[in-house]
Point group: C3
Chain length 343, copies 3
């Protein structure tokens, strides 16, 4: 059961209600009136809990689970252990998320405007904006309705934040325009100067960075991630894109809609990433490249050339995943077969 020091539970709900919330179907054998009081993982769920099965690694836990209900693919409708009521969904994890959000709706914190916040008199705050202690809101900044600015966040002069955003804590926003329903996790840095300089024999000369960062609606940015502003055009993150922790997005990068960038990814300057692109952890993308829509880049890859839409690449320098895997196999064979002679 989630720790009540941190999470406030709603409910209970009848199983039939949960199926509706989850946009799912009750199994024919399920008891629609069954009362469910909480969500729980398969391994610890009891008769009052609903769990989910979304990864075949956990089928054995499913088969032994004491959960009163479980969300699963219709393929499992004959395999539920005794006492388990099934909620059937082609997307069990998504269905679980909808149900879990009914039990544990997102909380707003802080409430109101902390006396210790420093809000410039020229800043414009929408209805029901909450500002935490130690937050600093600069001149002419604008924060939309119901947005929450957490403790010790710095919102620079002129920054625009849309409605229903969560800027959770200790983040720094400058030279940026942020859409609606954006979540920014602690320690995120948006809008500072990028790595922009001209080199000559006398050293480096900083180039004024005159662009902005545009964060579109429904973006989620992980803790301690850094997004630099553009040099003359803007750095842009497309709607619905998810960025994990400790990611580096350099100046002038454009990331499309619905992308997912995993932890510690780095994208060098002026690269354009299409829509629905998936990039695995610790991958690096060189500058001035085009990554096509729907491309998938494996974790730890190093991309130094354009990637066509819809393709998957891995390795360094990255290449189609099939070629990368073949290289791995060949190298392994080479190491083994010639080992006796040369070692």
């Amino acid at each position: 059961m989630p720790d009540s020091r941190f999470f406030s539970r709603r409910g209970p709900f009848a199983l039939s209600e949960l199926a509706v919330l989850a946009e799912a179907e009750l199994d024919a054998a399920a008891n629609a009136a069954r009362v469910i009081r909480d969500v729980a993982p398969l391994g610890s769920a009891g008769p009052d809990d609903i769990a989910f099965l979304d990864n075949t690694k956990y089928v054995s836990e499913f088969l032994e689970s004491a959960a009163g209900a479980c969300i699963a693919s219709p393929a499992y409708c004959d395999r539920a252990p005794a006492g388990m009521n099934l909620v059937l969904s082609a997307t069990p994890y998504r269905a679980y998320g909808l149900i879990a959000a009914a039990f544990y709706p997102p909380e707003r914190a802080p409430e109101g405007r902390a006396p210790a916040a420093q809000i410039d008199p020229s800043a414009v705050l929408g209805d029901d904006v909450a500002i935490g202690p130690g937050a600093v809101v600069g001149a002419a900044a604008s924060i939309g309705a119901r947005s929450v600015v957490g403790p010790n966040v710095v919102v620079g002069p002129g920054v625009v934040i849309g409605d229903d955003c969560r800027i959770i804590g200790s983040a720094t926003l400058s030279y940026c325009l942020i859409g609606d329903r954006v979540t920014i996790h602690p320690g995120v840095r948006i809008g500072q100067d990028g790595f922009g300089f001209a080199a000559d024999s006398a050293g480096f000369l900083s180039i004024p960075q005159l662009g902005r960062v545009i964060i579109n609606d429904d973006v989620d940015i992980g803790a301690n991630t850094v997004i630099d502003r553009g040099t003359s055009s803007d750095t842009v993150i497309g709607a619905g894109t998810r960025i994990d922790n400790l990611v580096h997005i350099a100046h002038n990068v454009a990331v499309g809609r619905g992308c997912a960038l995993a932890g510690q990814v780095g994208v060098a300057g002026s690269t354009t990433i299409g829509d629905q692109v998936m990039i695995g952890g610790q991958a690096g993308i060189n500058g001035h490249l085009m990554i096509g829509d729907g491309a998938r880049i494996a974790a730890k890859s190093g991309v130094i050339s354009d990637v066509p839409a819809g393709t998957s690449e891995g390795g360094y320098p990255s290449r189609p995943v099939r070629d990368w895997h073949r290289q791995t196999i060949r190298l392994d064979q080479l190491a083994r077969t010639r080992g006796a002679k040369d070692d």
Copy 2:
């Protein structure tokens, strides 16, 4: 000599006292009453200083050092230059650490509770807790005796911090339980939402993250490292584990006791790492894996399969270190021997 603007020296100590503190033996030829006033590196130490030799790279500096005393392995007891008194230890660096801590005990800063700190009235603070300016302590948070919460740290609602902890500055703690004697360096982010979402054709749906982060006793977490809370179970860091800077620990990860994770390591979600595991810098561990007790992962490795206890792996995909090295050698041979023909 350490800069007195930053470090306050205690002492002096007789060499015999230092040997006791260091759990070491005086060399038979050493002058037990010799007064030592400071620690210093071999290269700059003078007659009043004690140095140490722990790496054979520095033997030549040892042989020419003017240090009045030196901690070294018994193997060097005949090799000290004239005027150097030896303190013999099988673990010279550890012995040095104990002596250095006698001269320079850890300082507490800040002292007291800064007027500019924002402490919720429902928070429970133990004896002699220090809270720095700009720190924010949320509702029902609990901070144990003698713990220090540095400037601009944010301690979220309900967070529990044990005794004798140092939360040094500008860190953000939420949804977490922290043991005793834990050190958290600046900019650490603990407990925020992980990269948890369900994907479908309409985009990404955030899944409520209902677990916590559990940091056990004597853990040390480096600057700007990020540890996400669990999805339904907890993210756990075992007692005595050391985590370096800019490390990414995703949701539901369990790290065992006495591990060392070097800078910029990334561990993806739901992976379990055993006890006494060593992971080199910039290595990445895929999600849902088991890394056995005592395993060693080389720097920059990419681990995509379980690693058996007690083994060492390197490369990407990682494999036993011997195989990885053989691959490196073979590839090098291949590049050289066929170079003339194909270039």
Copy 3:
């Protein structure tokens, strides 16, 4: 045109004035009296704007640009489209930087000393120092003339900051001496304990870290980068060096003058890096190495041996770039030619 919410434009300037500022020459066909009102990229510039051409990727944009003026290499002096006046420079990007700084000089923010800043009475502040809200300046710290300490920055006890520095926001400085004209971006952590411990069977013993961090003049440090202080000697960053975002510099590292370290680079403890060394993104340098002056390390490389001055390396383990590229080619050939038989 740069967003006036964030940028205040000066000017206009005659083309002849701009050529002087840019240390460049007017093309013989250019109209020296032409009035220029702004900088803009080639693609969006109009008749009142000056653009630049520095990368052959953008020649086609140059040939179709409506810019009233453009900075370019003398090689393009016959190729300007009708209506474009050329400013000729062997270093067009540098010349652009000088002109852009005339239109958009760096702004100082915040001004004055915010009432919400916590400045220890024993701190020494030079003329015209600005301290933002929520900033904390410790005992006996010293901040030089005209330096700006941004919101929520923590300057630890005894820290020395030179003249004309910009500590932009939410950074944490401790145990360090900072030169003149240094820029520190948000979330930078300087001077905390490094990953310094002795291991034995009982676990890890922290070693007192008694050195400092020395940041020399004209250094620029990117957002969320971490630089640990030395163990007994100092961690040093040489004059004019540029460090990008999310870089990890471990204790006792010495980085020379005029280096550029790209995003997410990691340098392990006690390594010495010479002058004018360039290190690509996500590269890792092992500890206790010497990287010679002028060396170049490719992105994502893993360096485990000393690198001679003036050489270029890549790969992991890194080797001369030519050998690394040959390995890549050979491995690719191997995968292709033997694919049919073994798959």
